[in-house]
Every structure is written in structure tokens, then in C-alpha cells.
Amino acid sequence: MTEAAPERVARVVLVDDHRMFRTGVRAEIGRTEVTGIDVVGEADDVESAVQVVAETRPDVVLLDVHLPGGGGVEVLRRSAPLMADPTGVRFLALSVSDAAEDVIGVIRGGARGYVTKTITGTDLVNAIFRISDGDAVFSPRLAGFVLDAFAATDTPPVDEDLDRLTQREREVLRLIARGYAYKEIAKQLFISVKTVESHVSAVLRKLQLSNRHELTRWATARRLV
């Protein structure tokens, strides 16, 4: 991440197999002097994505879930070394699909957040900055999926700590699903925005590390919106 006075600039790579969509996103968020987003690369399949990300080392990769050559999950798998260090590359899943298994798949693959393609330019810019700051970004729908996945209690969890959401985390997720912004959640629960962020990050970690078998099963068996 580059600090450019007076505003920050986030370096972003767009990965999507639809050129029109990339062009649209670039036009929407790519005006660096206004949005602070610098689009440093584009890719349209797994192969080129892995390559571009490795070369440019952006702050955030906007990653489409459906990609030729194995999908977003494959990009995440092959870019895992880049994500390892704390200032490393971060991925934000951006998809037109809101099929649960797609979404949960990329999140478990290491993406730090998930937004749908109907998101507005402003929201997307905010999400990118939040991700580049190390926070997780949950859309209401993702929060719903996560609540749904963790609500299934038919088998005992393998790891109690990981496989359960705390009451607070659940509350936070529920508020996100209800359309609350972090700031609003903080107000509602009388906690700081930082605390909200840490709850969300904790949920993300649980989601990525949780070895509940039924998570995958849930995702495939789930009725999809």
C-alpha cells in the first residue's frame, strides 16, 4: 500500500473474464485522483491472473468467482504464498453469482470479502480500502450465508472454538445482513467500529479455518437465492 499525501492510493488488479465488465469497473473506480484507486493490471483467466498478481503485487485483487481455467478458487490457491505475509496481496471476491457454494468457496480459499456486481462504485471503493487496511468485507448476503452455515447444528463441531460463532459475532453478522453499516452496528451495540471490525475478521478467520465438514455440504445442498 502506498501512502500518497494527502490521500492514500490502493493498487488494484482486476480479474474478470468479461472485458466489458473490467472496462466498466475501471471507468467507475479507476480515476486515481478522485477515488484513490490505481488499477495496475487486468487478467481474464486463472493463468494470466496468477501471473499478473505475482508481477504487480497489488494491494487488492478484485477477483471474479467464475473464471476460465479453474475459477477464482484456483487463483487463490496458486497465489497463497503472496497472501501469507501481513502486508501481502488481499483478495476481494466480486461476483454476479450469489450461489452459496461459490461464495463460501472463495472465502474459504482466502478471499477477505465478497461483494456482488450490483455494488455501487462508492461502496466498491470503500470496500477496497477496507480490505487493503486488513479488514474483512461482508455483504449482507454473505453474512446471511455465514449465519446459515453456522446455524446448522446437526453434527457436533470438530473444533469448539472455531466452529461456533460467539453471541456477539452472531449479532454483528445479523446486523450486517439487515443492511447496517459498520458505523451503525457500532452505535447499535455500543461498541467501537474497531471492535466491529475485529468481530468480522474473527468470523472470517473461523470461516476460512473451520474444518466443519458440513460447511461444504451445506453450501452444495443449500437452496440458493
Binding site: 453469482s97 450469489d98 450461489a99 450490483t118 449482507p140 448476503r141 453474512a143 446471511g144 449465519l147 446459515d148 446455524a151 445479523r174 445482513a177 439487515r178 443492511g179 447496517y180 453499516a181 458505523k183 451503525e184 452505535k187 447499535q188 437452496r223 440458493l224 437465492v225
Partner: protein, 461 residues
């Protein structure tokens, strides 16, 4: 009807009749084919049978060679056709004789039409007449045995009639071969076997193999028996060797071609399936997406209409693409389904995007229905007064409690300041929830906008 009689082509295919038959429906089918009363045909068969069994042989031969035909009568609720006064009528009509006489010309014409349709179409095996299966399976199985017996008797009678006494030892091997061949050839008429033996789809293939195997075995046994009887049993080994050598030679020569043909067939089949699937997708895209795009082009300057069309189309396509087929068919009347349709309705009516997140699901009951009506009202309010931004709806089933949150990002309002005469919120939302044993809260959202919370316990099962 004279007209249909005149149009009747001279050539008709011969099928066995599945209706009103005594054995295999051969006499019936022949009678229909030749335009003779069935009794005559039957009599002819019986007479011929006494003429040294030729009748039986003929009947059996017809039985094996002529496929069974199925007409509309079976499809139309398994009407039984009976023979009355020289013609076929449905059993239901056979009771009222006078009417038949009057309407005879008509029913004959109709029957002819029917038969024509039947005979000129493919002999559709009766996937459409499953009700007839149970009785027919037993009868048909016995009939088949009987036919085989008849074949045996017929052949023996024929042989003895022809005075080839010397050939008598060969009768049994020949018969064995015949039965084996019949078994294998009957394989072609698979669905009938399936019906007779009440086979499940899964075991069909296995039983087909069994039958072909049994047939081949019988043929081989017959040939071996033939050879043994002929006295060449001692040289059986060398004969078999020679036969195998020839067979191997043929395989080597023909094998590659056969293999290629097999592969080509497979490839062709795959291609056909793919083409079909593609056609289906194309049809769907044409019916939905293309039409919508056309409408959007036409309404390009009406932003609201364009939005509405695009949203409706997106929803529809999404449903089609991402919803598993099983889920689409199973129990459409659940909370998730219902609220989804409510959301779609409100979106379309008011042109405001409504984002739905649904956690858990449960069957609908009266209370939840009332809650859905209240939720709909809340969504409508949010769409109307929410400033045009997206309305967020969150529904959750937790144990027996169903909660629905409807939130907008509008200017917000104070529920206490709502005048007494405004019925929308007070009656449609709060009142309705209360009457059905639930609670409703309307409150300002933290950063502007309004949130309606609806909570309801599910009714006892």
C-alpha cells in the same frame, strides 16, 4: 365415415392387437389388418392347427415376428375393446347394443382412424398405460410360455408330418437353437419384456445381458448337441477349434470397423445430447433474455421501466441458473419461497430494488402468512418513502421464531407522530401482527432510515 374410409391408404402395417386378445393378439391383429371378423381368423388358425399343427406354428411365428401395437384406447384410461357383431367397440359401449347399431358406422370410422394412427405411427410401447401392467405381466408371461410350447408342438407336428423320421434326433438340438435365437432376437423388443417381468429401470440392462447370455448359451448347446448327434462328437474339439479360429479371424477383420462404428455411435449420441441441451438453453435465452433486451431497447428513455425489466429478468435468470432442479420442484410453499415472491412483487410494482437475505427456512402456516402480509406492507412503505435507495429485507428462522427486518435508507419517521387516520402502519403492520400473536416494532435506524421488525412464533404443527 365415408370420407375417412376413402382416405384410407391401401397399405397398412400389421401389428398384434393388445386389446381383447386371447393369447398374443395375433388373430386380433390379423383380423383388423385383413378387415375380417376375428372369429374367422381364429377359426382358420384352429383348423390349420389340426392340419398337422401348421396353425400353431403359424400363430407362434406371427407372435414372435409381429410387434405389438398400442392404440389410443389404452392411453385413454385403458378402455377395453370388445368384439361385438363383427366389429370392435369400446367395452363401455358394448352394453348398449342398440346405440352401437345406430352409431356403428361412426364407431367403425373412428376405430379405423385410430388404428390407422396407430399403425402408421411407430408402435409406441405403452409407457402411457402403466395401469395395465400388473394383470398383463402375469398373463403375458404365461402366454409367452404357451407360445414357446406351441412352437415346439408345431415344429414336431410339422416334422412328423413331413415324415423325416430320420431327422427326429435332430429335433431337440434344432429346437434349442430356435429358442436361443428367439431369446436373443426378442431382446430387440425390450420394453415389452420389461413390462412382463416387472423390471425396474436399473435391472433392465443386467437382465438384458442375462437374456442374451442365455440365448447364446442355448444356441451353442443346440449346435453342440447337433454335432454330437451327428456322430461328429469325437471330432468336437477340432470342430470347436476351427470355429474359434474362424471367429477370431472375423473379429480381427471386422473388429476395428465395429469398434469405430461403436465409437462413432457414441460420439454422435453425445453430440446429439449436447445439441439438445444447447437448443434448450437457446430457447430459454430467447424466450426470456432476448425478449427483455428488446423491450429495454424500446423503452430506453423510460428509466424506471428499464430498471424494472432488467431486475425481473435478472431474478428470473438467476433462479434458472443457480437453483438446483430438485429444490425448484420440492415444496414450493415455504417461507423462503414466499418471501422471495413478495420481494419480487414489490420490486416490480414500485421499481425499487429490494435486497433479500434469508437465513433458514420453514413451512408456511397461517401466522407466517400474516407475517408475510405485514412484511409486504412494510416493504411497500419502504419502497414508497425510503428515498428510492435499496430496501433491505432480512428474514430469519431461529427455532420456532421467525423474524423479518425491513429497512430503508430514507428520511426516517417517528412512529408516534403518525396521525390516527393513517392506517398503513398501524393496521396493516402492527395490528395484523398483534392479531396473529406476533409483535411489530417500527423504529428509526441508527444512521437515518427506518427499520420495521416483525417477530412471530410459528404455529404448532
Amino acid at each position: 365415415m365415408a370420407a375417412s374410409d376413402a382416405e384410407q391408404p391401401a397399405y397398412r402395417k400389421l401389428y398384434r392387437s393388445p386389446h381383447g386378445r386371447m393369447l398374443g393378439g395375433v388373430a386380433h391383429g390379423l383380423a383388423v389388418h385383413l378387415g375380417l371378423p376375428v372369429a374367422w381368423v381364429r377359426a382358420a388358425f384352429i383348423l390349420l392347427f389340426f392340419a398337422q399343427g401348421i396353425g400353431g406354428l403359424l400363430y407362434a411365428a406371427f407372435w414372435f415376428v409381429v410387434p405389438i401395437g398400442i392404440g389410443e384406447p389404452a392411453a385413454a384410461g385403458g378402455t377395453q375393446w370388445v368384439y361385438v357383431n363383427g366389429t370392435f367397440v369400446p367395452a363401455a359401449r358394448a352394453g348398449s347394443f342398440g346405440e352401437i347399431r345406430k352409431g356403428r358406422q361412426r364407431s367403425v370410422g373412428r376405430l379405423r382412424d385410430l388404428l390407422q394412427r396407430t399403425f402408421h405411427g411407430e408402435p409406441a410401447e405403452p409407457a402411457e398405460a402403466p395401469t395395465a401392467v400388473p394383470q398383463q405381466s402375469a398373463r403375458g408371461g404365461l402366454g409367452q410360455l404357451f407360445a414357446l410350447l406351441m412352437l415346439v408342438v408345431g415344429i414336431m407336428a410339422l416334422l412328423s408330418a413331413l415324415h423325416i423320421q430320420t431327422a427326429k434326433p435332430y429335433v431337440w438340438p434344432l429346437l434349442t437353437i430356435g429358442v436361443g435365437v428367439a431369446l436373443v432376437w426378442r431382446q430387440a423388443d425390450d420394453s415389452r419384456w420389461q413390462r412382463w417381468f416387472g423390471l425396474e429401470e436399473g435391472s433392465k440392462r443386467r437382465s438384458a445381458y442375462t437374456r442374451v447370455g442365455a440365448g447364446v448359451l442355448l444356441v451353442v448347446a443346440g449346435i453342440v448337441g447337433f454335432l454330437v448327434l451327428q456322430g461328429s462328437g469325437s471330432t468336437l474339439a477340432s470342430v470347436v477349434e476351427a470355429a474359434l479360429a474362424v471367429l477370431a479371424g472375423v473379429l480381427v477383420l471386422v473388429g476395428p470397423y465395429a469398434l469405430r462404428m461403436w465409437q462413432d455411435l457414441g460420439a454422435e449420441r453425445t453430440a446429439r445430447i449436447r445439441a439438445q441441451e444447447r437448443a434448450e438453453i437457446a430457447a430459454h435465452v430467447h424466450d426470456s433474455v432476448l425478449h427483455t433486451l428488446t423491450l429495454i431497447q424500446r423503452n430506453a428513455d423510460d428509466a424506471k421501466e428499464v430498471l424494472r425489466l432488467a431486475r425481473a429478468q435478472e431474478r428470473e435468470l438467476r433462479l434458472w441458473l443457480y437453483r438446483p432442479e430438485a429444490a425448484a420442484e420440492a415444496a414450493p410453499d415455504t417461507l423462503a419461497e414466499r418471501i422471495r415472491s413478495v420481494v419480487a412483487e414489490v420490486e416490480d410494482l414500485h421499481g425499487v430494488p429490494v435486497e433479500l437475505v434469508c437465513v433458514g427456512d420453514c413451512p408456511m402456516d397461517d401466522r407466517i402468512s400474516a407475517q408475510m402480509q405485514a412484511a409486504r406492507e412494510a416493504m411497500v412503505n419502504a419502497a414508497k418513502y425510503g428515498g428510492g435507495g435499496p430496501v433491505q429485507v432480512y428474514a430469519e428462522v431461529e427455532g420456532r421464531t421467525v423474524s423479518v427486518f425491513v429497512r430503508d435508507h430514507g428520511p426516517g419517521f417517528d412512529p408516534d407522530s403518525v396521525p390516527e387516520d393513517r392506517m398503513g402502519v398501524r393496521e396493516s403492520i402492527i395490528g395484523r401482527m398483534k392479531r396473529n400473536g406476533g409483535t411489530a416494532r417500527v423504529r428509526p435506524a441508527p444512521d437515518g432510515g427506518t427499520e420495521v421488525e416483525l417477530e412471530m412464533e410459528r404455529a404448532d404443527d
